[in-house]
């Protein structure tokens, strides 16, 4: 009798938990891969495609599925690689060859030479270029991510990348130069032999 009660209780428990899990699987279902979102949050969202994928999200998806290396994002730099490695529990790698991090820059259209072809407007992934057909175009520099995707389509070669200048507005304190308290101790071989114990 005791055995039957135990079996009944366990069966009931299993049925209840199973039902709860089934309910959760349907109603609390997570759309998409949450890992992709987490990785995408660590990418700089320049949408530059330098990693070989057509944007930051596709690259994040590729990493999440284990297909892509984590060191392909040049704008993210070493710091970005470190963050992704920490998230995924992987070894930190140096940036892939050819994926050198450049100093921050924004695009600028040399307005005298712009013919108003709209090709750069179509190329800009973040809609940071304004203009219309046969009208001069210009870059909204505060929105430009410096992805350089507008450079190749321009038939006039009139877009240039300007490195972001340091001003009193964006200046930040440098890492303090550490002055060694004492010059490194130069031990003669004999002295070091005496001191070792």
């Amino acid at each position: 009798m005791d055995v039957l009660t135990a079996i009944a209780i366990l069966t009931l428990g299993a049925a209840l938990l199973g039902a709860a899990l089934g309910f959760a699987a349907v109603h609390f279902r997570v759309e998409g891969n949450p890992l992709t979102e987490k990785i995408a949050a660590l990418l700089p969202q320049t949408q530059c495609g330098q990693c070989g994928y057509p944007g930051c999200k596709p690259y994040a998806e590729a990493i999440a599925q284990g297909g892509a290396d984590i060191n392909l994002c040049a704008p993210g730099g070493e710091d970005g690689v470190r963050k992704i490695a920490e998230l995924l529990g992987l070894e930190i790698k140096p940036l892939a060859e050819g994926a050198a991090q450049k100093p921050p820059a924004v695009a600028r259209i040399v307005e005298d030479r712009c013919i108003g072809c709209t090709l750069c407007i179509q190329a800009c992934p973040v809609d940071a270029i304004v203009g219309a057909a046969k009208q001069m175009h210009t870059v909204i520099s505060s929105l430009c991510t410096g992805c350089e995707l507008c450079l190749p389509p321009c038939p006039e070669n009139c877009i240039e990348m300007l490195p972001v200048q340091e001003t009193t507005e964006n200046w930040a304190w440098r890492y303090p130069a550490r002055v060694p308290a004492l010059p490194p101790l130069a031990l003669s071989p004999a002295a070091s032999g005496e001191n070792s114990c």
Partner: protein, 518 residues
């Protein structure tokens, strides 16, 4: 109202070095030939120039206008001609240049039109009732009134009320806790009536319950002068809720968070404005400028600067904004062994990189540096985690932990140890037995945290725009497909109709058609 100020946590007692410069009255600095007025003289956005090269300006004329709420206008400190608008060396720790307006003085020092907010001080009580707070705020913004204690936050912004929290306490900060600086001390002593009038004006505007004027107890003359001025104002109309409070001279008693705690017992964490605690705080010199603006129509064009340190004639001078700092310090006759000039106090100031850099609204003190006053820094040794720094930190932080992570350039970890709560007062570095420049490490790490936040913001915005662009591209594609489909359907319908009419009407068959020819 507290009877006695509370003792805040940590802090250090420093040699005051106030006597040297505090014993002589405020002198007027001679007018230099050229004034350099950097556009950025306040927190927030720099105002935009409204004059052009060659324009004639009079003293007090507006030369740059604020275009955003957190921004304040700039005025000509003397009459003359605008000679240039462009980058010029400024007093900034980076040594970089910044856009400035250069005015060549004509020597006449002729005032432009003055338009006070209150027609005359005598009628002020009647006028005040008719004033809306917004009107006063716009007026102060146009008069370029900003916090003169050093943070240069536009004062009009601080007159906005926090939603849901009524203001209870107005604090006038005359603590002036950094050693050597005495500009507020002299101002409170000599122009106490204006300071009190400004205080009462702000009190009426903000409708606070109590007003406390805080003065460190190493400035008894200033406290007495303020009490006397308060008594004079009391004789005109009864004032019960304003008091002068003397604080023990423990650095950094004048820091806003420490001051609020000492006077009210309230603590403000980082990113929480004092208004959220029902407290608002203004520097004594700012209050003076508020009064000069509202009662006399004088914008902020001059300020009192302390000249001290290794000089023959230490003292305070009322200086037109834009006067080159090197020229100003020379008036106090630096002694021969002076090797540098500190802008600001010895604890939080920085070294001047270019002596052409001009005095701005935030410049309160110039100290001629010499080894006798400031012995050279001893070499930095290793941190032994003695926790001396934690004992003096007025913010209750653990600077040795912050140092550990800042030195390792791991600003995320440092931020978790509440790096952003650091007020950079320098107490930790002052007591550090290993002579580690702790504040320099913290400033670096704070810059990293801010850069990371900015990058995060940029990334979020870029992502949003990219996703919207994709959405739009898809929508356009769908719309185009729909249009094509509709056109195709229309075409098919037409053809079908044509076919139907073709077969149905016999007349059609009889008429010779060219359409069906092929």
């Amino acid at each position: 109202m507290l009877k006695r100020p509370l003792a805040f946590r940590g802090g250090i007692r420093l040699a005051h070095h106030k006597y040297e410069s505090a014993h002589s009255p405020i002198a007027s600095a001679p007018l230099p030939e050229r004034l350099i007025l950097p556009l950025r003289q306040s927190a927030g956005r720099a105002p935009e120039p409204i004059v052009r090269e060659g324009d004639r300006v009079k003293k007090g004329d507006r030369i740059a206008a604020a275009e955003e709420w957190i921004s304040a206008s700039l005025h000509a400190p003397t009459s003359g001609t605008v000679r240039a608008i462009g980058p010029f060396p400024v007093a900034h720790p980076s040594g970089l240049s910044a856009p400035a307006i250069v005015i060549e003085a004509d020597g006449a020092d002729e005032w432009g039109e003055k338009t006070p907010l209150l027609d005359s001080p005598a009628r002020s009580a009647a006028n005040r009732a008719a004033l809306s707070p917004e009107e006063t705020q716009r007026f102060l913004q146009n008069m370029g009134v900003v916090g003169l204690g050093g943070a240069v936050f536009p004062s009009h912004v601080k007159l906005s009320r926090a939603p849901n929290t009524p203001l209870q306490t107005l604090i006038i900060n005359g603590a002036e806790c950094e050693p050597f600086i005495t500009c507020d001390d002299r101002l409170m002593r000599e122009r106490a009536d204006d300071v009190i009038s400004g205080t009462l004006f702000l009190r009426d505007l903000l409708e606070v319950k109590e007003t406390l004027i805080a003065v460190e107890n190493n400035k008894p003359e200033a406290a007495d002068a303020l009490r006397a001025a308060l008594a004079r104002a009391d004789a005109a109309r009864e004032i019960r809720d304003v008091a002068v409070m003397e604080l023990p001279a423990i650095y950094p008693a004048g820091s806003i968070k420490q001051l609020i705690f000492a006077l009210t017992g309230k603590r403000a964490p980082a990113h929480v404005l004092p208004t959220a605690l029902g407290v608002q705080c203004f520097n004594a010199a700012t209050v003076y400028c508020v009064w000069r603006a509202v009662a006399h129509g004088e914008p902020v064009t001059h300020r009192v600067v302390t000249l001290t340190g290794n000089v023959e004639h230490p003292g305070n001078m009322e200086v037109p904004l834009g006067m080159p700092m090197g020229q100003l310090l020379a008036l106090a006759r630096p002694r021969p062994e002076t090797d540098a000039c500190i802008v600001g106090g010895p604890m939080m100031g920085f070294l001047l990189t270019d002596e052409r850099a001009p005095v701005v609204k935030g410049s309160n003190c110039l100290i001629a540096r010499s080894d006798a006053f400031f012995p050279p820094l001893e070499p930095e040794t290793s941190c032994i985690r003695c926790t001396s720094c934690a004992q003096v930190c007025p913010q209750g932080l653990q600077p040795y932990e912050l140092y550990w992570w800042s030195r390792a350039k791991n600003s995320e970890k440092a931020a978790r140890y509440q790096l952003m709560e650091c007020i950079e007062c320098g107490c930790c570095a002052y007591v550090c037995p290993a002579h580690i420049p702790l504040v320099q490490y913290f400033r670096f790490a704070k810059g990293e945290v801010r850069a990371a936040e900015k990058a995060q913001d940029m990334a979020a915005r870029a992502k949003e725009r990219f996703e919207f662009r994709q959405l739009r591209a898809e929508r356009e594609k769908a719309e185009r497909a729909e249009k094509l489909a509709r056109a195709a359907a229309l075409q098919a319908e037409k053809l079908a109709l044509a076919a139907v009419t073709d077969t149905d009407s016999p007349a059609n068959a009889q008429t010779p058609t060219t359409e069906n020819a092929p």
